[in-house]
Symmetry: C2
Subunit: 252 residues, 2 copies
């Protein structure tokens, strides 16, 4: 590794997001930073890749140790662009976020922010997705620094096992200080969808997706429990979706 690590930053809330600006500020303490983010909000884009249209990234800012690229891509596209087209070498670290809203529990499967971290792990690059449990566009990120910094420092120093990235969720800012960091598992919690049907000016029915998030997981070592107890939740996440316990049981 050269003297300074090369850190690739992306997110799914667009290049204009407050959480991204916060992450840039924190990462510049650790190394050279390249931001690759999208003009448009890419929340809920999961691991989508753009294969029907081409990608057109544009360098919009450059100074010593810091570059920003604006793209028309998804978070996963942005990681791929970084790895294979825009950066002169493989990044030493990929960080994604800081997401406006929790990516704990099943939210990981819908999240563009976490997909970017998973994409980094596919290529064996230590990768972290950071999210704040606050969906507000103007969310308060003032309390996150020590947690983002200590986790980043450790991952830069020790790396992560091959095919593993971290899903880090930080409690919303409140009057009570965050208690610390817990390494936990993904809770079995989910959205109970509620579709909102409406009628357009031409008489056609259309729907907005909506819902309520429900945690029915009683276990004490989950990300949802950690957040509820005002801890930062760190879930090590891997790329193997096999339900191993069924390999010997299923027969066709």
């Amino acid at each position: 590794m050269p003297d300074k690590p090369l850190i690739l930053i992306t997110n799914d809330d667009s290049i204009h997001a407050k959480g991204l600006r916060k992450l840039i500020k924190l990462m510049r303490k650790f190394g050279d930073v390249a931001v690759i983010s999208s003009e448009q909000v890419m929340s809920g884009m999961s691991h989508a890749v753009t294969i029907k249209t081409p990608l057109m990234p544009r360098l919009i800012h450059e100074e010593e140790g810091f570059r920003e690229f604006l793209t028309n891509g998804t978070p996963v596209d942005n990681v791929k662009l970084g790895k294979h087209a825009l950066l002169e070498r493989k990044p030493d670290l990929i960080v994604s976020g800081i997401n406006h809203g929790s990516n704990a529990a099943i939210n990981i499967i819908y999240s563009g922010t976490m997909a970017a971290a998973l994409e980094g792990a596919i290529d064996g690059i230590p990768s972290i997705g950071f999210s704040l449990d606050d969906y507000d566009h103007d969310a308060d990120f003032n309390h996150v620094d020590p947690f983002v910094e200590s986790i980043t420092e450790k991952v830069l120093r020790d790396g992560l096992p091959d095919g593993v990235c971290l899903n880090v969720n930080i409690p919303k800012k409140s009057d009570v200080p965050v208690k610390g960091i817990k390494v936990v598992r993904q809770a079995k919690a989910r959205w109970i969808e509620q579709f909102d049907p409406r009628t357009d000016p031409f008489g056609r029915t259309y729907y907005w997706i909506g819902g309520t998030f429900v945690n029915g997981d009683p276990r004490k070592d989950t990300d949802e429990k950690a957040l509820a107890d005002n801890f930062v939740a760190v879930v090590p996440v891997h790329l193997d979706f096999t339900a191993n316990e069924l390999l010997k049981k299923l027969e066709f």
Copy 2:
């Protein structure tokens, strides 16, 4: 369950795909079928959900035991539409595909077809994603019937454990008959990306995503190995992405 099971079918190759037509034909033997698929190709859309615009499904065909809805949504949107807006009751089975192209190994993470099956599993509905290891739009599906039928029959009869769906990949049609069905694990195989840079008429650089799929996994019980040996590969897939082996090892 009423006399006839209600089967929801979706895919990511659009409502016009040959693989979808094949799956409809096979599923109508098992029960009442509702197809919810998109006008546009949704390959590579992964678990993306449409939250910035509304969904506008349209019933385009109806006869005894069979309905088709055309939507502007992703495969996951289509499953959600089925569960929460369009169908009078929860489906007994969700099947997705038959995808034109393999969703074995890491392809599962990019696939809209498999995302639809995972979305079904989130709601506790037995769900199967079927894919053919042939990307051709005019791929030959004539050999798939006995495998799709026997797997469907078993899942309809026995169900699947909560939070688990099946990723079924079928070898490409060849002169040699498929040897049978194997229950296997997700191979550690991936894409080596190659970006194709071009210049648009205005002098700007743009990129097409491309790459070569490489299986470096030497294990004998993987989906890639099963396909290579001319077996149908069935991977039980779950929704918990936690790297359990690291829970006790990581510390921050």
